[in-house]
Symmetry: C2
Subunit: 278 residues, 2 copies
């Protein structure tokens, strides 16, 4: 990477920074295609975030910002415009200036999930889906499934009010989708997503009753710590097509690249040049 | 360069950024010695500088800032503490947070010049010097010569009041140095410095009366556009030891590295790994 006076940067804002992976994915990609840009980790504590965001976007060679924990929710209220995906997800992980100088935000965590299952052959348009877990990632996936035209969405969370609140936001922004909170029966569905942390630790219970899962149902996972979680292993044994957690990560990067106006590529190419292994 | 979640950054603040050279000097050096840090060019217009400076120093992984045009003067009033060199030079090109969280500034343009002539054998302590040109770089060199213990300083500028103002600042901070403004006679001196733009263009007049220059006098140059300016060429012909303009640039970087707390090295090593040619 040859940083010089013409280099643009993408601010990667979060705290702590130690587990950041984006620099090891974007920067080797930029190098490989000759884009003069760099993702720079910037550790930012919550109390400083509002003025830091304003200031980094006052810099002339900023191309955009990747927003990560703990700022994904608080950033929403600092922006001039956000997508329905941000409004439903309740969080935002990408910010840029538009041509009028306004700060605009979008959310690609769920988009990565959706792109991945689409590329694996799932017809998302009109599909019936279940998302288990209505935390940050579950809300993001539900929001992106809605934006992609899903027909029906079942939402479940052990905190019933979280699933209900997500359902309400979906009904507001996507009145045509059949949204239902409180059920987690995988039977008869096209897509079942584990968006809970279940699977992080050995012995975790499975997110749904696997005996009710049909072989035709696509099964997706958000846990990245283990590639083949017990949930995915059992789904695969039942014949279900599956998507591993890290696919969501790599599949969302082309969406980010498009958002920031960089030349884009495939998730496979990004994986191939990344300096981080999964 | 492998930027990751543990990478620290040095903000290189100025505008425009296109002619920035520091990233191509520091970053290859950091790579060559395995320091996980990166100099990032950040284009900042004057109207945004004050809040940008405050915000970048609110980031957790900032190691410091390189300050360049047009902010070298305006930054001084934004800092909690500056060195006498900054006060005399009237400008600052390096900022860091100290252990108490205060923003402290120093100025190394002149330090680079002084380190260079010292390493070439000049005894600066007690020396009699003439600095022609009391603009930004002339003031910086005079300030660093004073900090290095020069015995007498003659200052000259075609704008007499600039030389006089610099002389006053020197007298305030270094009352023991014999400071005199308005003379540019090189006779009888240990060091003569061209700190004017004379030499940028062919046919420029020489900064001093060369017939009065003694072979024992060390001659230094700040013009970088041409390595051997007419001034240096003629001084060398007269037998004077000389220092070219770019030495000031490379010699100041070890001073910056020390200031920011990085492992330091020699100007020669920095030149050897730099991705910029002079």
């Amino acid at each position: 990477m040859n940083i010089d006076g013409n280099t643009e940067f993408v601010a990667h804002l979060g705290w702590p920074t130690h587990s950041f992976k984006a620099p090891m994915i974007y920067n080797p990609y930029f190098e490989s295609v000759g884009v003069n840009a760099v993702v720079v980790p910037m550790g930012c504590k919550p109390e400083n975030f509002a003025h830091v965001l304003r200031s980094v976007f006052a810099l002339e060679n900023i191309r955009g910002a990747l927003i990560t924990m703990p700022h994904k929710v608080s950033v929403v209220d600092l922006l001039d415009e956000v997508t329905p995906t941000v409004k439903v997800a309740g969080s935002c992980n990408a910010v840029k200036r538009d041509a009028q100088g306004r700060l605009v935000g979008d959310m690609f965590d769920g988009e990565g999930f959706v792109r991945g299952v689409k590329r694996k052959g799932l017809q998302v348009q009109g599909a019936k889906a279940l998302v288990v877990g209505a935390g940050g990632v579950g809300c993001a996936i539900a929001a992106s499934l809605a934006a992609a035209g899903v027909g029906a969405l079942d939402l479940f969370d052990v905190h019933a009010e979280s699933a209900e609140a997500l359902a309400q936001r979906l009904r507001t922004h996507y009145p045509r989708i059949a949204v239902q909170a409180g059920r987690r029966d995988p039977a008869g569905l096209d897509l079942v997503v584990n968006a809970t942390p279940l699977g992080m630790n050995p012995g975790d219970p499975l997110p749904v009753d696997m005996s009710r899962l049909e072989p035709r149902t696509f099964v997706g996972e958000v846990v990245m710590k283990t590639e083949m979680t017990a949930f995915l292993t059992e789904a695969k044994q039942r014949g279900c097509p599956i998507q591993v957690g890290t696919d969501m990560l790599f599949e969302q990067i082309p969406a980010y690249l498009e958002f920031f106006g960089f030349p884009t590529t495939t998730a496979e190419n990004l994986r191939a040049v990344a300096r981080v292994q999964y």
